[in-house]
């Protein structure tokens, strides 16, 4: 696959070294091109890319609030449609908190109404912008500042909310999961999402160096480990048809992924085994 040279997210933004979110945005915009309007929810991405009077966005971009990015995009899409500008892509970038928690209602409404927009959830599995608080997308066992491990706690005690399946339940034409560490897989999905007539949702896992606790040099590696261990599965649901889009040649042990991150360091072998067996059950079902 040929990677378009042109960048639509300029360098020099304020992201941490090794930020996974900006990699995701860069890749997505390479596929969508210049005839695109982006809407962001409040969060890391908005703050790091638009410190007034600077902006990293080379395409039109709008931010209003935390929980309403999908509703704002509904308005953008409808207004473009009303003006006959139906060839313009409308893409939303919302974090996991802005998508799975506070923005879920607005997102559900936008998806159910059938707006022709692409919603990309950049999922770093906690509220990283405010300092690593637990979100609905935080995985089981992760220690965050609001689900810390301690004498009476092993960290987050609930499994990750299954956002892509919630989106699929809306009956929208395209739902996919992706990882920034599998750019080709992700970019193909962005292209499909853009081509589909109606709402598309892509749930993009992106490691976060500060929130997950690893060296900034290892972002891509962490994303790969998530997929190679079966902890994050790459699939798509096209017109209701579920398909795994990437299968590790030999699935690695989940502990390899967990041990590489500070947020799971506290877990006992027993808890790690529990996570492994949960991953195994899903992977067996999906023949991964």
């Amino acid at each position: 696959m040929e990677l378009p040279e042109k960048e639509f997210l300029a360098p020099g933004h304020r992201a941490c070294a090794g930020c996974g979110a900006t990699i995701g945005v860069r890749l997505a915009l390479k596929m969508l091109g210049e005839n695109t309007v982006a809407v962001s929810a409040t969060g890391c991405l908005e703050v790091i890319t638009t410190p007034y009077p600077e902006t990293a966005w080379e395409i039109p971009w709008m931010h209003v609030a935390f929980e309403n990015a999908a509703a704002v995009a509904s308005g953008v899409e409808s207004a473009l449609k009303a003006q006959g500008k139906t060839d313009t892509n409308v893409v939303v970038f919302g974090g996991d908190g802005g998508t799975a928690d506070i923005g879920l209602q607005a997102l559900s409404g936008a998806m159910e109404r059938g707006h022709n927009l692409i919603y990309i959830c950049y999922d770093n599995e906690a509220y990283m912008n405010t300092g690593i608080q637990r979100s609905g997308a935080t995985p089981y066992g992760a220690s965050t500042t609001t689900s810390p491990h301690g004498k009476e706690s092993f960290g987050e005690d609930k499994p990750k909310k299954n956002m892509p399946m919630i989106m699929a339940a809306h009956g929208i034409p395209y739902v996919a999961t992706a990882s920034i560490s599998y750019p080709e897989d992700f970019m193909k999905k962005v292209k499909k999402a853009a081509e589909v007539d109606g709402p598309a949702y892509i749930h993009l896992q992106q490691p976060c160096t500060t929130g997950w606790g690893y060296s900034p040099a290892k972002t891509i590696e962490l994303g790969r480990l998530a997929v190679e261990t079966g902890s994050w599965i790459l699939y798509e649901i096209e017109d209701g048809e579920f398909k795994v889009t990437y299968r590790p040649v030999q699935r690695k042990m989940v502990s390899e992924y967990l041990n590489a991150q500070k947020r799971f360091k506290h877990l006992s072998d027993l808890e790690k085994e529990k996570i492994q067996s949960h991953v195994d059950a899903i992977c067996v079902e999906l023949k991964i």
């Binding site: 709008m62 509703a71 009303a82």
Partner: protein, 382 residues
């Protein structure tokens, strides 16, 4: 001129048809709902060429308005009470992003206790959001105010949103004769909206809604205050142009038999019709009583109000809202900005009926003022 008999909600919907918005995101709430219904029907019948978005909440209604306005098109929405409160966060964003949105608010009490009936606490509570606010007395004024609001909001010296407020049920669900202007006339008065700056266009990429540090925020807010001041001139000019075109003149305030009055009552909205009746009655009895109806509440017309009341010996201000410990907000705005000893009255909360006898009580108590706000129409203690 052909007068048609209709509710204020229908009058507002007729106005929206005439201004030709491109996007209409709405969510039902009593007593606004019939505006949404009329607009849905107009779109379904092809009378309005707009995208009608059936959003899942008022929060999303105003958010979608802002997104659509961000692309440079005219938009409209309407709400009431709880819906307006749910919009609160985005009202500030809409004004701060300088989006010329026009919205109707069917004034209704805020819960709790839950009430679907009228007072003005909902919109008054949004007075600091950066929206201009107009309080209509009847259906004609509601329609005309919507037409004027777009012209005011879209003026590049202003670029602030406007809320047209109509009293729930009292106006929204009662009918009176309304002159619906001709489309051609409105087209001349209000041409298509063509934004000059800051809208979403891939040919001219801009970032809207960026993050500011303490070096910039205060200036951005101050710019809004400057725009709100400039809006006063724009409102005057638009009112004059409207009068020249349609023959109906609206000022910031309406003075009713107040020129020679010893006692002046100040109020907003539909209650003013009742007050006018009472004034006529009292005038016949020889009492020099008058009314100053505040039509434009934001920007707040300090000079106009002061000029109208400074000659009176007694001034009473009626509020259908209150701020805990200090009384009605209009009353407090007047006291804080003018050298006037005004009495304050809280009346008609949650749809409590306002009778001529209550207005007479207000007039009497204005002549013998108490130093604290009085609640009129409260039931006797059991």
């Amino acid at each position: 001129m052909v007068l048609k008999v209709m509710s204020s909600n229908q009058a507002i919907a007729e106005a929206v048809k005439l201004v030709k918005p491109k996007v209409i995101p709405v969510y039902p709430i009593t007593p606004q709902t019939t505006i949404s219904e009329y607009l849905a029907k107009y779109v379904a019948d092809g009378d309005i060429d707009a995208e009608y978005i059936r959003v899942e909440s008022e929060h999303s209604a105003i958010s979608a308005c802002l997104g659509a306005s961000g692309t440079g098109v005219r938009v409209f929405t309407a709400t009431s009470s709880q819906g307006l409160a749910l919009m609160h966060e985005i009202l500030f964003a809409a004004a701060g992003l300088r989006a010329p949105i026009v919205m109707a608010d069917a004034n209704r009490a805020l819960s709790a206790p839950l009430s679907i009936w009228n007072d003005q606490q909902d919109s008054i509570s949004e007075r600091d959001s950066g929206w201009m606010q107009i309080y209509a007395e009847n259906g004609q004024e509601a329609l005309d105010s919507v037409l004027m609001s777009y012209k005011i909001s879209e003026n590049k010296e202003v670029l602030l949103p406007t809320m047209v407020c109509v009293d729930g049920f009292i106006l929204t669900h009662t009918v009176d004769p309304v002159d619906v202007p001709e489309e051609e006339e409105v087209d001349k008065f209000l041409p298509d909206y063509n934004p000059e700056h800051a809208y979403l266009d891939p040919k001219r990429p801009m970032s809207i809604g960026t993050f500011t540090d303490p070096d910039y925020y205060m200036e951005a807010r101050h710019d809004m205050e400057v725009a709100m001041e400039k809006a006063k001139t724009v409102i005057s000019n638009v009112s004059q142009e409207f009068a020249d075109t349609f023959g109906r003149k609206y000022d910031f305030i309406e003075k009713y038999r107040s020129e020679d009055a010893d006692t002046i009552i100040i109020a907003m909205g539909s209650i003013c019709s009742t007050i006018k009746d009472v004034i006529d009655e009292l005038r016949e009895e020889g009492e020099k009583v008058g009314l100053v109806r505040v039509r434009v509440f934001r920007p707040f017309p300090v000079e106009e109000i002061y000029d109208a009341i400074k000659g009176a010996s007694n001034v009473g201000v009626i509020d259908k809202n209150f701020s805990f410990s200090i009384g009605g907000v209009l009353h407090n705005n007047i006291k804080s900005m003018m050298d006037v000893n005004a009495a304050g009255f809280i009346i008609g909360l949650g749809g409590r009926d306002i009778k001529p006898s209550h207005i007479k009580e207000v007039v009497e108590k204005t002549k013998n003022p108490s130093n604290k706000p009085l609640w009129i129409g409260l039931k006797e203690e059991q």
